[in-house]
Symmetry: C2
C-alpha cells in the first residue's frame, strides 16, 4: 500500500482502527504514511506517540472534546464532522484550550451513514469552519464504504462517485472555498484511487492484516490474510460438526460484507470449512463440505470475516513464523481508556 | 435469583461470563452462591480470589490445561467435558500437577452444540472419569439454550427435557453410577428449575444485568435491564436516522435470540427506537417509528441485545445513580490473560 501510494503521489493516512498498535503504526509511518486516521479519542491519545499528524475521523462532542484538547500540544489534529453543532462545540473547546484544530467536512456520496447531503451544505460547513475561532478548513472527506462487492464489477457506482466528486470540487472552486485536501478511504477502493485523480489522500485500514471479506471481494489474495485466530477443537460429540474454543467473543459476529459467504470465518488450511454458528466461547465448524475430520485437541487457524473487530477483542497480537511465536504486539489503543473522573460521563 | 434458589433448595452457581467482575462475583457469593461457573481459564484465575469452588464449563486442552493446573491449590476445580480425549488429557495434567479435579459429563438435550448424544455415552464417560487417576466424577451437566423463546409457551420442549432427564437418571442409577449433581443452566430456564426437581444446581449468568433479549422473552421486565451503553448522537445529516458513537465495537453485532426483534439494541427511554445498522464506531438509530428527533450532542442509553458480549468489549462498568457515577467496576476477567511465554501457543 505504501508503494502504491508513493507511485501515484497519494498521501497515505492509514486507519489505525484495524490494528490499534503502536508497533504497526510505527511501521506504517516508517514506510511513508504522512499521518494516521483514528476513530476514537483513545486512538488519538495512543497514536500521538508515533506521529503528530492525527485525523480523528469521527465527530467529537461532550467529554470527548476535553480528551482531544488534552493531546500533546505538538499534535496537529483534524476532526471530520458533518454538522454546525459539531463545528461550534469544537471551536468552543479549541478556544478554551488555546489550540488550533483542522476540520474536514464529511460528505455522503452513497454510504448513507454520516455526511452532509448536498454541495451547498458542504460549502456552508466549510465556510463556518473558516469563520469560527481556532478552526481551520482542512478539507473534504468521504467514505466509499458502499462500493465493496467485486470493485471492478461496480463500474456504475464508481463512475457516479467520480462525477459527484468532480461536480463537488467545481462548485467549491466557484464558491471560493476549494478544499485543501480531498480525502477518500477504504481498503478495496484505495487500490483504485489513481483513477480518481482529485483524491489526494487515502485512509485504508484493513490492508494491514486483511481478512476473509477482503479476500472474497478480490482486494487481496487468501495468502495475504495475515491475522488468524488460533483455536482448539474441544468437542466432536454432535455429528457433522466440530466445536472450537473460539466463539463470538473471539471472532465477533460479523457477516461477510458486500459479498456472499456463509459463516463467521473460514479455516486457513481448509477454506471450505466455516464457523457456521457461535456461542460466546464456542464456534461450530460445519464439516458438510469436507472429508477432513478433526480430532479433539487439534488446533486450527481461523481467518475471520472482519479483522478489525477481532483485533478489538484482543489485548495482544502474536507474531508467528511457522509454529514459533517470535514477538507480541500490544493492542494499546483498544478500549476507551481512562474515563474522566465522575463528572462529564453523563449530562 | 439468590432468593429463588434458596426458596427451592437449589445450589446457585452463577456464570461469571456475563460480568467478569470480582465485585459482582463477591456480591453473588455473599448472597449465597456456593460456587461460580467460568468459561475460560482466565475467568477461573480471576475468580479464584472470590471462591475456591470453580466450575470451568468448557473442555480444556493443550496449554489451557497447564493454566488451570496452576490455579491456587485451595481451588476445587470441576471441568465440564464430553470426550474421552478430554478426560485423558485432564487426568494426565492432574497427575503431573499432583492435584485432584472433578469432572462433569455434558449431555446434549437439544441444544446441539456440545454434549454426548446418548445415555450410554454419558455412562461411559462417567465411568472413565472414575477410573482415571486424579479425577472424580462430580456430576452430569446440560445447557438448555434451545429453550428460550417465551419459555412458558414452550411446554412441549420443556416436557421433553423433563422426561429425558428422568430417563437419564434412571439409567445411571441402574448402571451404578448416579451423578452426585445434575447441573442445569441459563437465565430463562433458571426460573423454572423448581419444576425439574432432579436438577440440583443452576448456572444462570445474564440475570445479573439482563438485556433486551431477556426482557423480550419475558424472563425479566424492561426496568430490570441494569446495563446500558451510553452513547452520544454525533450526526443527523442523513434523513430519517440519527447516528450515535456506539457501533459494533461497543454493542457487538448480536441479534435478538429466540424472539423477533429488529436491530442490535433499543433506547432505554425510547424502546421503539433501535440501532438498525452499525459500523465499528457508528450506530444508526432508525427514527421511522418515533416522533422523537434527537439533536447532535444529545446522549442516549442503549439496552443491548446481548449484555455478555457488551461487557466483554469493555474494561470497566460504571455504576450510576441518576446522572451521577458512584463507582466503577473493573472487568477483570476480560481477555485471555498472559499467554505462556513462547512455547505452548502453537502445536
Amino acid at each position: 500500500m505504501a508503494a502504491y501510494c508513493r507511485d501515484h503521489a497519494l498521501a497515505l493516512r492509514p486507519h489505525v482502527k484495524t490494528h490499534k498498535s503502536l508497533r504497526v503504526a510505527s511501521e506504517q509511518v516508517a514506510r511513508g504514511a504522512g499521518g494516521l486516521t483514528c476513530a476514537t479519542p483513545r486512538e488519538t491519545e495512543v497514536m500521538s506517540e508515533v506521529t503528530p499528524d492525527l485525523l480523528l475521523h469521527h465527530p467529537i462532542l461532550g467529554s470527548k472534546l476535553q480528551r482531544v484538547m488534552s493531546l500533546p500540544r505538538s499534535a496537529n489534529v483534524i476532526v471530520a464532522l458533518d454538522s454546525a453543532e459539531a463545528i461550534d462545540r469544537l471551536s468552543d473547546a479549541a478556544q478554551a484550550a488555546e489550540r488550533d484544530v483542522g476540520v474536514y467536512v464529511e460528505v455522503d456520496l452513497g454510504m448513507h451513514r454520516v455526511g452532509v447531503q448536498s454541495t451547498d451544505d458542504v460549502i456552508a460547513l466549510a465556510r463556518r469552519s473558516c469563520e469560527r475561532p481556532r478552526l481551520r478548513f482542512a478539507g473534504v472527506t468521504f467514505y466509499p464504504g458502499h462500493i465493496r462487492e467485486h470493485v471492478r464489477e461496480q463500474q456504475d457506482k464508481f463512475e457516479r462517485l467520480r462525477s459527484d466528486l468532480e461536480a463537488l470540487l467545481d462548485a467549491m472552486e466557484v464558491a471560493g472555498c476549494p478544499p485543501p485536501v480531498l480525502s477518500g478511504g477504504s481498503t478495496p477502493l484505495a487500490w483504485r484511487a489513481h483513477e480518481l485523480p482529485m483524491v489526494r489522500e487515502v485512509r485504508p485500514g484493513t490492508y494491514v492484516y486483511n481478512d476473509r471479506t477482503t479476500a472474497e471481494i478480490g482486494a487481496c489474495e487468501w495468502d495475504d490474510c495475515a491475522l488468524t485466530v488460533l483455536a482448539t477443537v474441544v468437542s466432536t460429540a454432535v455429528p457433522g460438526q466440530a466445536v472450537v474454543d473460539a466463539g463470538s467473543k473471539a471472532l465477533g459476529r460479523e457477516p461477510m460484507r458486500g459479498v456472499e459467504g456463509e459463516g463467521f470465518g473460514a479455516l486457513l488450511d481448509h477454506p471450505e470449512v466455516t464457523v457456521q454458528r457461535m456461542s460466546e466461547e464456542h464456534g461450530v465448524l460445519d464439516l458438510s463440505s469436507t472429508s477432513w475430520r478433526p480430532r479433539v485437541g487439534e488446533q486450527v487457524r481461523i481467518v475471520p470475516n472482519h479483522v478489525c473487530v477481532v483485533v478489538h477483542l484482543n489485548d495482544a497480537i502474536h507474531g508467528v513464523r511457522g509454529d514459533e511465536v517470535v514477538e507480541s504486539w500490544t493492542v494499546s489503543a483498544r478500549g476507551r481508556g481512562a474515563v474522566p473522573a465522575g463528572a462529564g460521563l453523563l449530562g
